[in-house]
């Protein structure tokens, strides 16, 4: 990769940063400083805008670069990932989008706390939301650091560290100054760039193969060296039974986790009604599904055009498949077209990370300020500060979360990005989904059940990760020297998700609290009709 690519990529990326900073200042110029404005952008986005923003929020660099690389190297097994990411949206559309929009105001905890004794539930749900967000954030920061190494050829540790710090600083500026409105526009711009780039590459790829997808697949299988096995499952996850079980666990986490991701839930508060929330989910499903279909074609295309040898030589995990394919499709190294396409892909990848990171930071600062800080302040007595105090707290929380994420991102630099994303999804599915489902649909759910459901999913999920081979006990672990590995799987989902549901049920049946019929009636009526929705 020559200096030309890097200069152009840096120029394009600087352009994106300049535009988004412009959006942020333009948006914050007119702000009124209300909580509604900061957390939800005034709830005035249209379904289409929100659909694009959800797409920008959801598709991280892990799917843009990671999944194409997985498909290019392991063929069909990469496709399994993509299916999980997409089917998860049916859970969101059917069970979550409208009901959460109707019941809550800013966060997941709003929905649960409305029915229960507010303080313990809010603290539990707020804590788990922050944990999920920070995990997801660290994954993105680690991704950003390694992207620089991959795309700009700066492999030194210092360059990676400065990238992580730079990305963290930018996201804090976006979020604390611009709030939801700036974040949303950044995500929309990113989604348009991402989709545009992907479509352009796919068109070029199909032109190369004269529109013959079958020929593309055959070429990919032949060049991969695996033959027909490349087009069938088993190359990556087909080994031992532990590996297979691990993948089933990951699949469950992916499909159930999306509905518990705080930054996805908070996007539904940015539209005026439940109907608009539903329509934005539909837009998102269309855009995300279309994007993933193109990703599959591009992944097999990278195997067919670039070949696994060159891919592995550039990055062992295949993360550079997309930019290398762009370079080849543009005319090869040294050509103008190749340089431009490569730079575009690199810049889009950076934009992707920035937009996702801003969305997560905003959601977690909302959890800190609206759930945790508001509860603790209230317990000390005193309503001083009011809503303005809460927004100020959210801005400060964004800075704090930025600092924590930068620090953890630097520490976890060597962990696999896709693995970290999988864990974040598993924790979301174990800690957030059970409590959300029970609150919306179970008449007899009680405060103790809610608290148990959150901690009963959160603690096992995190505990099993600590006891997994990722942390200790084998080569490639975080601490290879010690051995406290007692849990064989990398992804805890298959155990911790049922535990979350079980704990919620157990907490409910053992508590002597009588469930409040009237409050459940209120939740049910509001969730399905939108009466009294914020």
């Amino acid at each position: 990769m020559t200096g030309d690519h890097q200069t152009l990529a840096l120029l394009l990326f600087s352009g994106f940063v300049a535009v988004t900073l412009g959006i942020t200042t333009w948006v914050s110029r007119r702000r009124r400083g209300s909580a509604e404005e900061f957390y939800t952008g005034g709830r005035l986005f249209s379904p289409m805008e929100n659909g694009f923003a959800i797409t920008g929020d959801y598709i991280s660099a892990a799917s843009f670069l990671g999944v194409t690389g997985l498909i290019a190297l392991y063929g069909y097994d990469g496709l399994l990932y993509v299916v999980g990411f997409l089917v998860a949206w049916l859970v969101v559309l059917f069970l979550v989008a409208e009901l959460v929009r109707n019941c809550g105001r800013f966060t997941l905890a709003d929905v649960v706390a409305a029915r229960m004794s507010e303080r313990p539930v809010r603290i539990a749900a707020g804590t788990s939301s922050v944990v999920v967000s920070v995990l997801y954030l660290v994954a993105q920061m680690v991704g950003a650091g390694s992207l620089v190494a991959l795309l700009l050829g700066r492999t030194s540790g210092a360059a990676q560290a400065w990238t992580v710090i730079g990305v963290g600083a930018l996201m804090v500026i976006y979020v604390s100054l611009g709030g939801m409105r700036a974040t949303t526009w950044i995500q929309i711009v990113k989604a348009v760039l991402l989709l545009g780039g992907t479509i352009a590459l796919t068109v070029l790829l199909l032109l190369r193969f004269h529109g013959d997808v079958d020929q593309l697949l055959v070429t990919a299988a032949r060049r991969s060296g695996h033959g027909d096995a490349f087009l069938a499952p088993g190359l990556k996850y087909g080994g031992s039974w532990t590996a297979r079980l691990d993948f089933i666990s990951l699949g469950l986490a992916l499909v159930l986790g999306t509905a518990g991701l705080p930054h996805i839930l908070s996007r539904f508060y940015t539209v005026p009604t439940a109907r608009a929330a539903r329509r934005s989910a539909v837009w998102a499903i269309g855009l995300i599904g279309g994007f993933y279909l193109l990703t599959i074609v591009l992944g097999f295309g990278a195997a067919a055009v670039v070949g696994p040898g060159a891919l592995r030589a550039s990055n062992a995990a295949g993360n550079t498949a997309m930019p290398l394919l762009a370079l080849d499709l543009g005319g090869g190294a040294g050509s103008t077209g190749g340089t431009v396409l490569f730079a575009v892909v690199a810049a889009v990848a950076f934009a992707t990370i920035l937009a996702v990171v801003a969305g997560i930071t905003l959601a977690s600062s909302a959890s800190v300020a609206h759930d945790l800080y508001a509860c603790l302040r209230r317990s000390r007595g005193g309503q001083k500060g009011g809503v303005r105090g809460e927004v100020a707290a959210a801005r400060i929380a964004a800075v704090g979360i930025g600092v924590v994420a930068i620090a953890l991102g630097l520490l976890a630099r060597d962990l696999n990005v896709a693995y970290l994303v999988g864990v974040a999804f598993a924790v979301a599915a174990s800690a957030n989904l059970p409590v959300l489902m029970y609150s919306l649909f179970w008449r007899g759910f009680t405060t103790r059940g809610a608290v148990w459901a959150v901690y009963g999913g959160l603690v096992p999920a995190l505990g099993l990760v600590l006891l997994s081979p990722v942390v200790s006990g084998c080569r490639g672990s975080l601490f290879p020297g010690v051995d406290f590995q007692y849990f064989p799987l990398q992804n805890p989902g298959i155990v911790s998700i049922p535990l979350g549901f079980l704990a919620g049920w157990l907490g409910t049946v053992t508590s002597d609290e009588t469930p409040d019929e009237a409050k459940y009636a209120e939740t049910e009526v509001r969730s399905l009709t939108g009466a009294g929705a914020a």
Binding site: F94, P272, R275, G530
Partner: protein
Amino acid sequence: MQSSDDRARGAGDGPERSAENRRDHGAPSREVRHEDPWYDPSALGWDEPYGAGSLAPTVPPARGEPDAAAARAREVYVEVQRSAAFQEVRGRYRRFVVPGVAVFLSWYVAYVIAATTAPGLMARPVVGAVNVAMLAGLGQFLTTFLLTWAYTRHARLRRDRAALELRWDTQELTRETRGGAR
């Protein structure tokens, strides 16, 4: 806090534009009578809480005040929940969503389990380079899009209008019981 500014397009959302936020006690309430005999509040006994005019406080209760007005507002939700109209909306939602979720979740889990435990079956060729696994993967995309379409269609045709009417009625009733009807 803002009033709920409904930008939903389509029929039936006219009255909602003036609907006040339930929590928005300070804002002046616009009196818009809802005159649908089918939802007549007195016929359902919903007017009891404010039957005696003396009960209505002159000042809207502050947020978080656990007073009698708030208690009556809670009763409104129970009444609405028990009403036939709401039961119908809820029934329609559940009758679609429960089988829907069961179908796509089991289809997805079956797909993942087949891909991990029966790669031989999945590798069986169908046409050209396309095998069972490819078809199953594309099938997941297809069913996702189809179910999305079916869900929105069902919601639009079977739920939206009734839900909107219920929302309007409920908000009217809560506002009245909270003394907002000045």
